[in-house]
Amino acid sequence: MSKVLLLGIPTEPPMALAAEALGGLGVDFFFWDQQQVSQSTCMVRSSQMGLAGYLSGPEGRVVLEEVGGAYTRLASWAALPELKGCHPDDPRVNHACKTHRALEEWLESTPARVVNRTYANAANNSKPYQALMIRRHFHVPETLVTNDSETVLAFCQQHKRTIVKSISGERSIVTEFTMQDRNRLSLLEHCPIQVQEWIDGFDVRVHVAGQHVFATRVQSSAIDYRYDRSPQGARFSPFELPHDVEEACVRLTEEMCLGLAGLDLKFSADGRVYCFEVNPSPAYSVFESATGQPISQALALYLAGL
């Protein structure tokens, strides 16, 4: 069995659960704590023979060609407490930059199972771009992206309810389009907006880890259940997916070259299944803790190639 490499911050729940699951399976793994970047070194070389290199830190050293699986949830290194506010010429900044660049080259190039590579995550940076991939397998809501206020108003008049969400991966809170938003439409001149028809139905979050699929029904009165501030909050329960939907989730995840993905589905009142987004870096731990679904174990099995 090959070694598994975990890259991130050990206390972060998805990483902590993955480490626990790997330990439970008896998988040999190395956890590189990103907060120790100043005491770490990474060197990668690429040649006709393939990739080779090492990553070392206070906890030890791993030979990269021995790694068969890697799970990365690296934060922006510039935001690490040790480096925040440092001058760009500070040697610690230069070292952190070099170490992360080497790691990134390895993660992108290695034949190991990587959850997930940066190039595979890229589609999530543009939601309408990602929707073009999603719609090969699922329904997508009628969506408008524009900086033209008249078109937005016309779109809202066509639909009973309309929601607004960011176009990129930034500030991705979903809200309902309201009168207040109407009054702010002049701002569109500076920045486009994405509006979508509201779909009636219930939310299901699906996590795909390799070939394993876990579906969780979400009950919430909030427009965006992630930000449900009601006293009871969002409630999660295991959900059995129809076989064809399960297959579509796996196929889409594979097509997007993702080893782990969180798919936001909505089962509409008219029987259609919509997919709003595929999250390539899902905080699956929230769902595992609430339902007991063994997502981290499936992730560990995938990383270990079992």
């Binding site: 690429s46 080259e105 543009s126 701002l187």
Partner: protein, 239 residues
Amino acid sequence: MICILCTPEDTHALWLARQLRARGREIELVLPEEILVKSQLHLSVCTQSGSASLRLARGLILDDRLAGLINRLYDLPPMVSITGRAADSLFVAEEWRAAIAAFLEMLSCPVLNHPTGANLYGQVLGEGHWRSLAARVGLAVAPWTSEDTDQTSPSEAQVSRASLFMVGSRVLDPLGVFAGQSDDRLRALTNLAGIQLCSAVFDLSSGQPAFTQLNPLPPFAAGGDALVAALDEAMVEAR
């Protein structure tokens, strides 16, 4: 009409525009600023259909009626949010970038190159990653290490290099140094990366061409008339 998206400093794009005009093609150069300032962007996406159009302040409309689009949109100009806050400006920039990536992806005319969700002008990979992919498809590659920096890498002048150009599935060898030996492997590499227009740079210092990197913003003039003709044909064939 063929549209070339480029910055005013992009001499390669300006050269290409002149060459294509000389062949009788209608060419419009569109600058990044024009995409943002007083433009009207409309993207409509649903399960079965969709449409994309961008109307510039000067009245030019970019949509499916284009004969083709040469995409050299390296980035969008810096944007300042009306709040003046850096975080808001970053958000506005990301929103525009995400919208334009989807716009370019949705055009049904030939787009060379298509964007990714993160990069407007196509697949951008690190040097080590390019070489790993190249080795995987059987190209001879020059060794690379993460210790290489701008200071330690041999300069352009010190290394003997040659490039192959790709337009669609056509491989062009303007210097005639490859004798067709790398063509199929280069096709495999560009297929893998989803790039239709690029130059592939090879190091010749060891006698045998060794791949170093792939550039999705090729220096057109180095490809000469053959490159212009191939691009022209790619636009016509696709109609």
